[in-house]
């Protein structure tokens, strides 16, 4: 069994809104799969369907070789789910929160597993603290631990790092790396494209549809545009000039601008000309590899 999740022609609407609009994809065993898209793209609906929390209108989902609509309970025993707003009990201790999740999942001998998980998430020294007294990053780790107590084969994470500081985020990613090492499959949604770079494969989702699906590297390679980075002064004038006088997409950074073009050589000379005319001094220019964010913006604009 290579495909641990197989989705065929999945649809779900809320009134006029097609939250999930005819999506088919499969996830390989042991991979980190990223579902990336803006708010309202349908990411959460998709994850909730896969976890058996809401039911699709049409289409088919197979998880661990079983049909979701026929074997929901059995599949749920083998998956973990971490929602955007993790549901911890603030007045229960770390240990008690885990115990509660163990009981929900009917895990009898969870003591050893709990110790292992606390060790591995470095929460052991806080085990008697109530959840409400934990920092944001620790709460998130505890929620993750709770979703792992029944040793799931697949872990679903819905925007797990929103609002978490960079140090805790890095820590969280270390833990996910360890899970991948243990062979767990991770299906994650995120609005952050730098996080998508950490996935084996990424599906870019917009208005209920998948607009690209591949490894981050291949998605970037497929972009038929080039990015020119221009270090110049004054940057703001450069940005405004490009924005007002050309059709190019442009983004401004502290001391440079990035311009998305179709053809490097012809575009560059016209850009240089117009910048010079507007009294912008160019110190350096080069082609840079597109980021996933560049590709994403571009694909969404094309789709519109």
């Amino acid at each position: 069994m290579n495909n641990i999740i197989e989705i065929t022609s999945l649809r779900k609407s809320y009134g006029e809104i097609k939250a999930v609009n005819d999506i088919s994809l499969s996830v390989n065993k042991g991979e980190m799969f990223g579902l990336v898209g803006p708010d309202g793209a349908g990411k959460t609906t998709m994850i909730r369907i896969l976890c058996g929390l809401i039911i699709q209108e049409s289409g088919n989902v197979k998880i661990l070789d079983k049909n979701l609509s026929q074997s929901r309970k059995e599949i749920q025993k083998n998956i973990g789910y971490l929602s955007q707003k993790f549901s911890l009990y603030g007045d229960l201790s770390v240990d008690e929160n885990i115990e509660f999740f163990a009981e929900i999942h009917n895990v009898k001998d969870y003591f050893k597993r709990r110790d292992e998980l606390l060790e591995f998430s470095r929460l052991k020294s806080f085990r008697n603290r109530t959840a409400e007294k934990l920092s944001g990053g620790m709460k998130q780790k505890l929620a993750l631990v709770c979703s792992l107590i029944h040793e799931p084969k697949i872990l679903f994470l819905d925007e797990p790092t929103t609002g978490v500081d960079p140090v805790s985020r890095r820590d969280f990613w270390k833990i996910l790396s360890k899970l991948l090492k243990d062979g767990i499959t991770i299906f994650m949604s995120t609005p952050y494209l730098d996080e998508a770079e950490r996935c084996n494969r990424v599906a870019l989702m917009n208005t209920g549809k998948i607009i690209a699906l591949d490894t981050p590297q291949k998605i970037k390679e497929k972009m038929d545009r080039q990015i020119i980075e221009i270090v110049c002064n004054p940057v703001r004038a450069a940005y405004q000039t490009i924005k007002k006088n050309t059709g190019f997409e442009v983004q401004m950074f502290g001391d440079r601008i990035n311009v998305v073009v179709e053809n490097y050589s012809s575009a560059l000379s016209s850009i240089k000309k117009i910048l010079t005319e507007n009294k912008v001094r160019i110190t350096d220019e080069r082609i840079i590899p597109p980021s996933l964010e560049n590709v994403f913006m571009h694909l969404i604009k094309d789709a519109e």
Binding site: P166, N200, M297
Partner: protein
């Protein structure tokens, strides 16, 4: 010209030193990034700079006014927006703006003029009767920023303005920040997303109340990060990670899709060592590249690995 001058600013709560003797300047019209982990003292500093909290020692001159001596003048001349408090969801767009304009004592004529301006930058022209709560997140964010500068302050403080905002809205929001800055407004912004810090002209990083790094994004990456970061593509990702994380010269490892990233000590510049190690472990390295560190790498490095424990 400096828009903000901070000198020996200190705040103690009992024995706890939240902000510990920090000094820095912010130039007029620049986008200034203020970074630090949770609990580093960011909010306390911002509150002092906004004239809401009195410093224990030191002072800051914000838009020409001392926060220690004339906090009320400071408050009149700045704008403030946070992810938490911004707009009243149960009021119409126009009502929110009238409320904010009223708080800052704008005259009717001025208020109308400024209302029009905010509606324009928020892409809400002709929609002032819409209920604020019904707006999409990205638009609400722009409206909140517009409301924060309705009284045309010289300086605006943005406290994690983009937390939980999707990439497209975030990009639009930063365009708006750039517009404000090009109109001469100084933008002081905190964020948890370090790729956003790349948009700033200058940045400071604080930890445990102390200033630990400052400079533009490029300087931070070259001056503060001595370790090198490599991206390695191999036939066995997990095995390569397990092997390399055991080596003393490897400071940090992480999985990046089908590749791994390792951070190695400065003195290690001999890649053949990595190649040889992997080869002996039966791992074939397909590609190994030195990569440009991100600001996040710098940040994690400066805060020390013990913080990640």
């Amino acid at each position: 010209m400096n828009s903000i001058e901070v000198k020996n600013l200190t705040k103690k709560f009992g024995d706890f030193v939240s902000v510990d003797n920090i000094s820095f300047n912010v130039k007029q019209a620049e986008i200034f990034g203020f970074l630090g982990a949770n609990g580093a003292g960011k909010s306390t500093t911002i509150r002092m700079l906004c004239g809401i909290l009195e410093p224990t020692f030191g002072d800051a001159v914000v838009g020409g006014h001392s926060v220690a001596k004339s906090p009320d003048s400071v408050k009149q001349n700045i704008g403030y927006m946070s992810q938490r408090f911004s707009l009243y969801n149960d009021m119409a767009v126009g009502e929110n703006l009238e409320f904010f304009g009223g708080v800052y004592g704008l005259s009717n004529q001025k208020l109308n003029e400024r209302k029009k301006w905010v509606l324009k930058i928020a892409n809400l022209e002709g929609k002032e009767n819409l209920l604020t709560g019904s707006l999409p997140g990205g638009i609400k964010q722009r409206l909140a920023l517009g409301a924060a500068v309705i009284h045309q302050p010289d300086i605006v403080f943005l406290d994690e303005p983009t937390s939980g905002v999707d990439p497209i809205s975030r990009r639009n929001f930063w365009e708006l920040i750039n517009e404000l800055s090009s109109e001469g407004i100084t933008v002081f912004v905190t964020t948890h997303y370090l790729e956003e810090a790349e948009f700033c002209n200058n940045i400071i990083l604080i930890d445990a109340g102390r200033l630990i790094a400052e400079g533009n994004p490029k300087q931070l990456k070259t001056d503060y990060l001595k370790n090198s970061i490599y991206e390695i593509e191999s036939d066995k990702v997990i095995e390569a990670l397990e092997l390399l994380e055991k080596q003393n010269f490897v400071v940090e490892t992480s999985i990046f899709g089908n590749n791994i990233h390792i951070s190695v000590e400065e003195k290690v510049n001999d890649l053949s060592r990595i190649n040889k190690l992997c080869e002996e472990g039966g791992i074939t390295i397909k590609r190994i590249n030195k990569i440009v560190p991100t600001l996040e790498d710098v940040f994690i490095h400066l805060l020390g690995n013990e913080k990640i424990l």
